[in-house]
Symmetry: C2
Subunit: 387 residues, 2 copies
């Protein structure tokens, strides 16, 4: 081996031993990740087990049970995919779409845009139904966009804008189309009713309202969609037929090594959700979102997402065009919020970078005390509310 | 919400509160995952940070530094991919191969087979160079298989057979071809010298010789390969151009939410590797492998992989055709090993299921005490060595 190759001592932290600095202890109020439930942090530290260990297989099966509860579904294939929420999006398209298939996508934010790109790479012919960022997608326009699409796709909770798109109205008119739903920022925070809404495939992420670190994409597939999987998926890693051979009880055909530690963390996070109760958890998110949104308006801020379509778990708010009374600019406020209060909030994306903030109250972060602390910190840093 | 949907109380463990049973404390001596270094378990419990937090970005950059050290490379694009080792394999092929491209793959085990399948799904025209499972691939045959392939691919350490394929001899004759190497079970356990071996893309897994849970695929890409990435990758999630925009310092264009907790765990595991030293860590794996292989032969077992081509970190051994002197059969021995000793070893795969065991000594598991304990347990359970 060459002794020249190695970490640069000028930029690297010491490899081992006590960490050189105190660990940051953040309140994560950006668009995700959120703070982990204590039960999740505990599960991350459990002694590791093998991916074929009876103890782990039981945990994996029970994680499927708990995900069925969270998605409100009886779908057999319901499991945590071994990648982040974006891997869930890609898995959903590449397993349902072959080159030339017609796909309708609602686009009113970054993740709708991403759906078009992912579908396009899978060979889909994409019909876009656009609405301005911040305006919900009209379900009728989505249903009328193409006479016989194979897939109709919509983001439930647009993380880029804080807007909720209505899924429940799509089932009636979807016909033979498969309904594909991005539930990354909705699952656990607001109602997701996969079965009664006629959803054929939905995916989520662990790091939003479930209070688990990022790294897995909970996914559920209807029996109807399972019958219409493409015969030859372009991806081996995300091939749901192959993955089903491992995750569905009984067979356990090796596909890839399941990320055991993250699965156990998700299992613990879902346990918190189920013990608190779905409705109680949604109510907690709703109460925090209302407190935050009312508080911001009381300080003189203008909310971005329109009334009636706002997500409680992700609030979007305009940065005042005239600047802040304190004289600090937008990046300075976020930098001081992080440095002085150890609170993270999110910048806007696309044309709204620097003009809109995205403030998350998800999972374990969704506590009134966090909202109160943030509002107080924002008042002090911005000078808003003093007039 | 429907009150009928929820975990089945007959099969589910209670969601929260004290766990109903003691946590298993396994010695993981299968083909992976291995036991985690204590520093890794500690890092999993750190308070979570955001994926754009300055503290995390520094950790991500330093993880790149540490991976460059482990791979012995100066490649700029060196980072942990957000999926397991198999995602690393898929990313390697879909970023280098377009439909119609010629790819040569050495196949002497399950993971060589998988490479063919993954390459095929990316549209490659695959030329296989087969050797029987357990026999190393002749480098000359690999180089002579096609006059001008775009990619030559080989598994360094075949996890299915415990055989080492020689990579170092391929650089001289590869010509314009890109050399793609699976280092899943080799990185950190035996030498991997990406630069001096002329490797253009290599990927690994965290759960083998790095002593970190499964979930990430360390990946390194040469400048030469970076210039020859396909113009349009079929995968959005695994698109190395897009990922580079986030992981390469400075730009930080959002692609997907990095799995922060697992990256910090990998950072900690690589810290252990670097503090112990690459050569010392390889020597520890070598010593444990030798002790195990000698011990098994002393008990009367026959090793599967041929002398001179055996991996120290993964030993393969025949289950005696005549059965064990104790009267237990093969599954019974592994079941009792797990239940009575809490030691996991691996079954063979494919035609060797039930006929060969795969015994790992990787990462934190690679300790002489574990080998001694396993040999003693096997002697007691099998009755081998008593004659």
């Amino acid at each position: 081996m060459s002794s020249e190759i190695g970490p640069d001592p000028a930029t690297s932290t010491p490899a081992r031993g006590p960490r050189p600095r105190a660990l940051p202890d953040r309140i994560l109020m950006g668009p995700g990740p959120s703070n982990c439930y204590p039960e999740v942090t505990a599960a991350l530290g459990y002694p590791i087990v093998g991916h074929l260990d009876p103890e782990f297989l039981e945990c994996l099966d029970d994680t499927g049970n708990r995900l069925r509860c969270a998605f409100q579904t009886t779908n057999l294939l319901t499991f945590p995919l071994s990648g982040t929420g974006s891997a869930g999006m890609e898995a959903s398209f590449v397993n349902l779409v072959e080159p030339g298939d017609q796909v309708v996508v609602g686009v009113n934010g970054l993740f709708g845009e991403r759906m078009c790109e992912v579908a396009h790479r899978a060979g889909a012919v994409v019909t876009r139904v656009d609405a301005p960022w911040g305006v919900p997608i009209d379900p009728e326009r989505l249903l009328d966009a193409h006479p016989s699409p194979k897939v109709i796709a919509l983001v439930h909770a647009e993380t880029s804008t804080g807007v909720r798109n209505e899924i429940g109205d799509l089932a009636r008119g979807k016909g033979d189309a498969l309904l594909l739903v991005d539930a990354v920022t909705s699952l656990g925070g607001i109602e997701v009713a996969a079965d009664s809404w006629g959803v054929d495939i939905a995916y989520s992420g662990t790091q939003k309202c479930l209070g688990v670190p990022p790294g897995l994409a909970p996914l559920t597939l209807s029996a109807r969609a399972q019958e219409r999987l493409v015969p030859r998926c372009q991806s081996w890693y995300l091939d749901l037929r192959l993955i089903a051979g491992y995750v569905e009880s009984g067979t356990r055909v090796y596909h890839h090594t399941a990320p055991v530690t993250m699965v156990r963390a998700l299992h613990a996070g879902l346990g918190v959700l189920i013990d608190e109760g779905l409705e109680a958890t949604w109510a907690r998110h709703a109460a925090c979102g209302r407190l935050l949104q009312d508080g911001l308006e009381a300080l003189g801020f203008t909310l971005f997402a329109p009334e009636g379509h706002r997500l409680p778990e992700l609030t979007t708010v305009w940065v005042p065009e005239r600047g802040f009374p304190s004289g600090l600019d937008e990046p300075e406020v976020r930098e001081r919020l992080l440095r002085l209060y150890s609170i993270e909030i999110g910048n806007g994306v696309g044309e709204f970078a620097g003009r809109v903030w995205r403030i998350g109250c998800m999972g374990h972060t969704a506590r009134e005390r966090n909202v109160i602390m943030l509002l107080q910190a924002l008042e002090e840093l911005t000078g808003m509310g003093a007039a």
